[in-house]
Each structure stands twice: as C-alpha cells, then as structure tokens.
Symmetry: C2
Subunit: 192 residues, 2 copies
C-alpha cells in the first residue's frame, strides 16, 4: 500500500489520491488499510514519502558505486539517466512524489511538509556527500547539490509536460562541466 | 476569478482548488462563474495558467529592462530576487502555479497539459531571448534557459518546503558564473 500510494502521488498529487484507489492498486484486502494505517491518508502518504526519500538516497549510492570514473559530471549523468531511461521505457506518467506532494501540501499541512523536508534533506545530504567523494570541497558540494536537485526536479516537470527528455539532457550537458570545474585542484587541497 | 484561481492553484494545486472557494476568494457574485466560464473548472484553470504564463514573460522583460549592466548573471539575480523578496515579504504560501498544475495533471489531463506546456514555452522563449540579449549565442541560450527555469522551479519547491530562501540563493550564486562564461567572446562572434 505504501508503494501504491507513492505511485499515485507521483502521478497525480496528494489531493487526488484516494484511499479506495490505493487499496485497489495495491490489491490489498479491505480493512487492511485501517489495520496498518489507523491514522488514515496522512499517515500513509507520510510513510510513502519517507520511503521514496530512502529510495532516492539508495539511488545516489548505486550511481556512485557504478561510475567508471570519479568525475562529478559522470555522477550527474548517471543520475539524470535513471529518469531519462524511465521516461523513455515506461512513459511520462509519474514524476517525483516529493515534488508532487510539496506542490499540494507545502502551504496547508505542516506535518507532511516536515516529512517532505526530511526526505529532501536526506537526498541532498547523500548527493552532496557523493559530490564530495568525486573531489568537490564539502561546502561547495552542498551548494551544488542544491542546484542539481533543484534543476533535476524542474526538468522532470518540464519533461512530463512536453513528453520529451530534452530538458533532462540539457541539465546533464550544461551542469556537468560546472560540477567538474568545482573539483579541488591539487593546489587547493592545502586550503581545504 | 482568474486571479483567485491562480492564487489557489499555486498554494495547493489544481485538485484541491474548488470552484466555491474561487468564487469566495474573488468575492464574485454567485452565478458569475457559470456566466463567464460555462465549461467550469478546467476552463477557469486553463485561463489562470495562460495568464500566469503571460505574467512570467512580462517579468522577464521587466527584469531585463531594469538591469544596470548586461551580464546574464544580473538577469538571473534579478529573476531570483523576485521570488526571494516575495517569500521574505509575504511568506511561503504560494509557489509557481505552472509547476503546481503540472504535478497534478501532467498525466491525467491532456488539455491542461498542453496549456501548461504553452505557458512554460512562452516563458522559456522569453528568458532565452533575454539571455541572447546579454550576449549568449542563441542555441546555447535556449539550453541554458531550460536549466535556469528548471533550477528556479526546483528551488522554489525546496524554499517552500524549508521556508528558507537559501535554495534560491544557491541557484543565483552557482549558475551566475556559468551563464557569464557562456557569453560569446569577440573571437566567437565570427563563428555565430
């Protein structure tokens, strides 16, 4: 049911996601929702978003581990490729559930807002650590991770709207060299 | 009513925006909704999003006209500042209505999707033209405009979630030098 909720939220937002549909998509027995999620929709959405935050962190670690080289542009390209290949192979139905939830509830539900904030933070810290691993000084890595995640989120939206992966490709093409130029040179190493 | 719809959509998305609330926020007489928008909510939302797309284009032109210099980083800083100052002065209630609508309906409503696409396209063309005006070669300007608008959209989401303008500041700080470095040098001019 957590997975079904994440899938529905990333397709059409929190407000349009109904509990009956979650149960139907999950093929769960009636009554199981009340049993496992006594606090209802908010609890289910919170668990789905927390889980998706963990998925995002694992994806960063997986991309980092799969790199042939240690260039930050390769980390970016690998990250963008996960989304590009998903859109190409399964279509543009689902976007990022964290963004979809944020757009719906950032102003109206402080509890979910803090759940979304924690999920974004975990992803950001993980991507920032990965950038540092590729040689970018930690403080700069945090700032650049914010830019990459922001740009990726926006590009996912544009890609879904246009049903075209071009915005994702623009992110990888334009931000790759920026990231590579932020790698500390041997000379910088004495300062950091 | 168009303005009230845009305000509600950018606060809590399309799905949670109700017609009765639109009429109440707009302080419109009962019956006026059916009179002006016989096709109901979809028509009203479409007009609100088209109008917000036009607002985005006018903002680009306004920022461009207000620049003291012609550096693309100044254009970016001025654009980011519009959002930063709105969040600081009026709070984090509303985000970008185009993104909010996209998150809700990209997969479920082809008519609204095409309205959102046209609004994003107009904004993108306008920002791309502004970048070209600051000296970036047109083809590169289009690619960089996609990156800037993507990053701005994502940073608006992060800012609303954390109630903090730091993500917007990161965009201006990190992408400014990237844009400035894309300005065609005198030598390049012969090639473009």
């Amino acid at each position: 049911m957590v997975r079904a909720t994440a899938e529905l939220v990333r397709t059409k937002g929190v407000s349009a996601t109904g509990l009956r549909e979650v149960v139907a998509v999950a093929k769960a027995p009636r009554g199981s929702l009340q049993h496992y999620f006594p606090d209802g929709k908010d609890q289910l959405v919170a668990e789905a978003l927390t889980w998706m935050g963990q998925v995002a962190v694992r994806r960063v670690e997986k991309v980092l581990a799969s790199l042939d080289d240690r260039r930050p542009s390769s980390l970016l390209a690998g990250t963008v490729e996960l989304w590009r290949s998903e859109f190409v192979s399964t279509g543009y139905g689902g976007g990022c559930p964290l963004l979809a939830a944020a757009a719906d509830v950032a102003a109206t539900d402080d509890e979910l807002r803090s759940v979304i904030g924690a999920a974004f933070d975990g992803w950001l810290r993980s991507f920032s650590a990965a950038l540092a691993h590729t040689g970018i000084p930690p403080q700069r890595a945090e700032s650049l991770a914010t830019v990459v995640i922001s740009a990726l989120e926006g590009a996912i939206v544009l890609a879904r709207i246009h049903r075209d992966v071009a915005p994702l490709e623009a992110i990888a093409r334009e931000l790759g060299p920026l990231l590579d130029s932020a790698v500390a040179s041997a000379g910088d190493a004495f300062e950091h």
